[in-house]
Amino acid sequence: MWLYEKKLQYPVRVNTTNPALAQMIIEQFGGADGELSAGIRYLTQRWTMPTNQGKAILTDIGTEELAHWEIIGTIVWKLVKDASIDQIKGTPFEAHYVNHGKSPYPHDASGVPWVAAYINSKGDPIADLHENMAAEQKARATYEWLINVSDDPGVIDALRFLREREIVHFQRFGEALRIVQEELDRKKYY
């Protein structure tokens, strides 16, 4: 089960109301390589992971991704919560606003809603851990594009933190892959 702690993993500081930027950041709330995909992907793969190291890393990184999803939702919220209608009209956030108001919603920056087809759980630990390593690199790249289009120092600070986490997760999944591979090799007999 899960135990909620009433705190963010990283303090979110947003300097200026900016609905247009919120619409871009929402890519990581409900986009293909976003935090929701990451969390659901890793937590779903746990049942067929053969080693304890692998089970632990899927559980704990999956859980951390949900904390990142909360950080992204908080960035989006802080960018729009004080926005007037005039500040929203004519921005890319306007289409989001007419459906969801100021609530975050899991869709990508273009408005395409999140679907489970973004993730896989193949029932094969080698395939799954490779998917996860690729997913971490794709998320890292997304954070770099987001940093490139952001001009809010607080938002950039949080995005940099989240980008670093993708690199750490990639490293840990690589170690888990090596451990699983060794375990599978050890079980082979000739």
Partner: protein
């Protein structure tokens, strides 16, 4: 303009808890794939001790961050601010 209901003291303590909590996330993930690393374990255990001390201190003063903790009446877990409402620009 909303009124900031958190004192500077409360925010600083929460930030310190967040730092230890994050350090524990890091040692946890590392230990998941390096369970025999005694140096990392020592680090993890010292962060764990400090984290639990600060959490108890915070919760005694400002109310539960976790629903598993005790509370006076009324149930203080629901009190604001919720994590997305805290203004970390002003400390």
């Amino acid at each position: 303009m909303e009124v900031d209901i958190m004192s500077r003291e409360q925010k600083l303590l929460l930030l310190e808890i967040m730092e230890y909590s994050f350090a524990l996330v890091e040692t946890n993930l590392y230990l998941d794939t390096h369970p025999y690393d005694e140096r990392a374990l020592k680090l993890h255990n010292s962060y764990s001790q400090k984290y639990n001390e600060l959490l108890s201190l915070y919760e005694a003063k400002y109310g539960p961050l976790r629903y598993t903790q005790m509370s006076g009446c009324p149930w203080a877990y629901i009190n604001d601010p919720w994590p997305w409402e805290i203004d970390f620009n002003v400390i």
